[in-house]
Symmetry: C2
Subunit: 257 residues, 2 copies
Amino acid sequence: MKKRPLILITNDDGIYAPGIETLKNSLSELGEVIVIAPDIQRSAVSSALTIDKPLRVYKVNKNGEFFGFSVNGTPADCVKLAISTLLQRKPDLVVSGINHGKNTSINVLYSGTVAGATEGLIAGINSMAVSHSSHSFDLDLSYAGKITSRIAEKLINNKNENKVLLNVNIPNKPESDIKGIKFTKLSSSKWADKYERRLDPFGNEYFWFAGVYEITSSDPDTDDFAVDGGYVSVTPIRLNMYEENSSFVNNDFLELI
Amino acid sequence: MKKRPLILITNDDGIYAPGIETLKNSLSELGEVIVIAPDIQRSAVSSALTIDKPLRVYKVNKNGEFFGFSVNGTPADCVKLAISTLLQRKPDLVVSGINHGKNTSINVLYSGTVAGATEGLIAGINSMAVSHSSHSFDLDLSYAGKITSRIAEKLINNKNENKVLLNVNIPNKPESDIKGIKFTKLSSSKWADKYERRLDPFGNEYFWFAGVYEITSSDPDTDDFAVDGGYVSVTPIRLNMYEENSSFVNNDFLELI
């Protein structure tokens, strides 16, 4: 008998966040799901790996039932540890999320949510990162779960040799106001970096990151434009950061040595 | 009078590593250098940002003289904090390194060294990450410093509106054995992930990352091939991780909603 698809789930808000519960529930109809996720909030950890301390794995219950495994590491750690060591077979799909807060444009670089899914693609598995535009933990995510499940099904059925990594962002709107789904590219918008200088109770200086994400691009083909306009945004992500079109590759360099 | 170029230096091995000392010494001939770097070893932190605790900045002396500022954060934190808050003017160049250990192929994704330079490019500044193939802290890095300084000079003089991020890897060979310098692309080689399962003194299980970087690509145009063959490898890096050529973008998706 053919085994049901195995779906590995992780996130960066930590195993106790509501978004990962929605994700597990909504993907359970598609196959066998297993949750291996950070024990605590790990936002903005990017593709960081834990190499200076060992990882611990613990069973976590929710609502009196086994929910998944927590790891004292990053989303990338969770997926690497799961695929290489903890799981009995290779997953058919890796899904990271549902993140509380959207991950568009340059945020793909910083996001732990995306990094978890990136490790799926590195391991040769179709993968997706899913983020919801609201940061609230008290939100009805049922529509987000539903659309995630539909895209996940497409990914499980994707038999193309070239695996894909999709970055999905879901608008913070009721289902009736969702206008559709769009393939997008990453926006060029960035953070306006700012740090607040404060003094601790002993008069010593410290700095809090207080940057603001500024949408400076109005390109209608981009993820921000789609999500903010009420569309579910789906952006294919690549691993290779080689710049093919660098203006700087020239023969001058040959004289250097 | 025209000001000397301002060069911001960071790394991921921490401000006390020898590589960053070589870097500071070798770039001092090109302009005013300022070191703002992590207080401790921060390898494999990728583009992680510290958002859950404040950052502290301390003056660090070496050999009885002021050397630079330490930050209890990642390389990306250091460069963001420096450019947005600590520095009086915008740097003309950001250089991260010299890392003890090469950063080729997929390691660009994990490397804190590269992430430090990436923040330079994000801020619109020509930037470079420099890594040496040896992990040893007891090595003569004078050649590495020399070639870094030459490439840095080219970058300072690059007046192109499109700024560049260069990932430089230097072979672990004496200067007389260096064959030249090559522009390369990133190799497709990856890590064979592995975790060692151990028991602590109380009999509780833990996992150590014990992955091995496996060179599976023999493409002569790649960074690994160049460095291992005795060439200094220079790879232009892009920020945008959008996959233009995804096999998966198709109209089926339009039916989803």
